[in-house]
Symmetry: C2
DNA sequence: ATCGGAACGGAATCGCCGTTCCGATTCACC
DNA sequence: GGTGAATCGGAACGGCGATTCCGTTCCGAT
């Protein structure tokens, strides 16, 4: 049986030489399957499961990703890139139409990240290698976006002194613990908690109570690798 | 089998028959080792590691805990019992010396739980069997304690309408994500966030903003087993 | 129609880990 | 000091999952 190969790719218009080579890029099918399987069953799911979900043999998975760890990392990089894009998007929105009485830029980012996240932005402690180049790049982009969000909210007086971009990362970690509920319900509970946290930040900002200094960005990110 | 209840405890003052009973003290050594190893390397650590840490052979571990799952559950029950004891203790303190300008009963409980916890109160979703009797009992005790704490703070106007004991459980889940820092630093960061959350709760309470209703206790606890 | 090689799927391999089994050791009691 | 039973420690077993290997299929070119 010819594979249920799905030529649907995101690869730009390439009417040129690459023929089926392109189609063989069901690389994206593998990534999508991995995301599904790992987020459903945890990173302990087997490579065979991922392969089955993608409709390919394990060999094909290994041709693209030499190791399970490499696959997980690819997912990780993808998640960070998406987060960076989201941060930039939210920052742009705030830049244009004057900010109304919403949750603030950071709050908006966090809320959308909670409901739309495709994977964790940070892998469990101890799982990190030396920090590959592509991940480092994506991380820098994310930082730039967060920098903008924090600047907006600080200017609007929504954040207490001492609040940094690294704090946003920590919040992301705090905001989405795994819950034994269907996605929709879990999201609702997480958003409920987000509301409390944002109220707390505003209260601290209003009282000018400040926070102790959190970790610096580089220390924070660096701690995850080595 | 008589009962699943294993009284294997440190019940001292037993000058009677047991001679080798002393050897049973290995039991607590095993539990302690398991707590150490699992909290350091995650529940993926091997039974051999636990045995080595306890200074016994794997056979001895299995004599006391028929299965790895049983060992993990014993640890879990222990953690819940300790939390219940802590809750009762904090409630007692609040009952006696008039509450001063502190974090409130719930805040005090959470802070001590963060810095003193020996293990997670809830196992990762999907890992839960049918909810054994001893765990159910410990959980009931915990609920009673939390009920008291919440009542104190609600009376003091520190909590918004809609805040329940199940919320305390959710907070525990949110407040202690694993961080790649030494215990002391990680605790400091966690407490920093606890401060924000408590400020948020007080702000909501003051504004009478309320929270959407959270889950009921039974739904919450029940969702972890089956 | 035929050929060469790239891509495939999945069986075989290898190591790890939970669990079981058994000979050696220890202790209480003769 | 001898004896039997309870305990030990750790080797052996079986299953699972990551990774490797290889025969087959497919595509484009000749």
């Amino acid at each position: 049986m010819p594979s249920p190969a799905d030529p649907a790719d995101q690869r730009v218009d390439r009417p040129l030489p690459g023929r089926k080579r392109e189609a063989r890029a069901n690389d994206s099918a593998v990534l999508a399957a991995a995301r599904e399987v790992f987020s459903a069953q945890g990173h302990g799911a087997s490579m065979a499961d991922v392969a089955r979900h993608a409709g390919v043999g394990v060999g094909s998975v290994y041709r693209r990703y030499p190791t399970k760890e490499a696959l997980v990392e690819a997912l990780h990089v993808q998640a960070v890139r998406e987060a960076a894009r989201l941060a930039a998007e939210v920052a742009d929105e705030h830049g244009s139409h004057a900010s109304t009485a919403d949750d603030g830029a950071v709050g908006t980012f966090l809320a959308r990240q909670i409901t739309g996240a495709t994977g964790p932005l940070l892998r469990p402690p101890g799982t990190g290698g030396p920090l590959p180049a592509d991940l480092a790049a994506a991380t820098r982009d994310l930082r730039v976006g967060l920098e903008r969000l924090v600047a907006y909210d600080r200017a609007a007086g929504l954040l207490p002194a001492g609040f940094t971009t690294a704090d946003v990362m920590q919040l992301l970690l705090h905001l989405r613990p795994a819950l034994p509920f269907p996605r929709a319900e879990a999201d609702a509970l997480h958003l409920r908690y987000l509301g409390v946290v944002l109220a707390g930040l505003r209260a601290r900002a209003r009282d000018d109570a400040g926070l102790g200094d959190g970790p610096r960005w580089d220390d924070w990110v660096g701690a995850w690798h080595d």
